[in-house]
Symmetry: C2
Subunit: 113 residues, 2 copies
């Protein structure tokens, strides 16, 4: 059992040319004994964005704080706290902070070999 504020888990800067101002906190995963999936909490600075990418596994996302947009394929959808997203495998996507405060969202992925 691990209960903690996500900020107590050290954040790792997302270093990718496709990302900017993004920090990841892995709050539950194999290191904590989670066998099936991993919960990450991301912070995006104002003007920041996550990778523009796609992959062969799904994302399940919950938007906790701040305002932003999700781009996928050629659509853009505004998101705010309480919104959720299911991103199926192999769909191009990027999340961007379009507000004035840090954007915080939870993103769960399956554990991989």
């Amino acid at each position: 059992m691990h209960i903690q504020h996500y900020k107590k888990v050290e954040g790792v800067a997302v270093t990718s040319p496709d990302a900017k101002g993004a920090t990841m906190h892995v709050v539950a995963g194999p290191q904590q004994g989670a066998q099936n999936f991993t919960m990450r909490v991301f912070e995006l600075e104002p003007g920041g964005y996550s990778f523009d990418h796609h992959h062969d596994f799904e994302h399940e996302i919950f938007f906790h704080q701040g305002k932003g947009e999700v781009d996928y394929n050629e659509k853009t959808i505004k998101v705010s706290p309480g919104d959720t997203a299911f991103i199926p495998p192999n769909v191009q996507h990027q999340i961007r902070n379009t507000g004035d405060e840090t954007m915080v969202f939870v993103c769960v992925i399956p554990n991989r070999e």
Copy 2:
């Protein structure tokens, strides 16, 4: 791709003698095409609580709104927005809203046969 506020997904009252004032919104799961795990958003009314239970799979939880407590085994831990919990398989646990507003948390579980 499904993006929506969790309240747009119809809530289901949790009917159990061990739960009170609890509503579940299944925002991503097999119905949306998620193959590995299911994201549920729970609302607990002031004074409400989730089942006091245990099971052979893990929970990964993110607390979005409100204040409450997690009981597990014989411990109690206070939680507030931004807190996360990893609850391993077979650990007794219950979440209680101890505040004045609706408590909202995200809880992810593996898909099961």
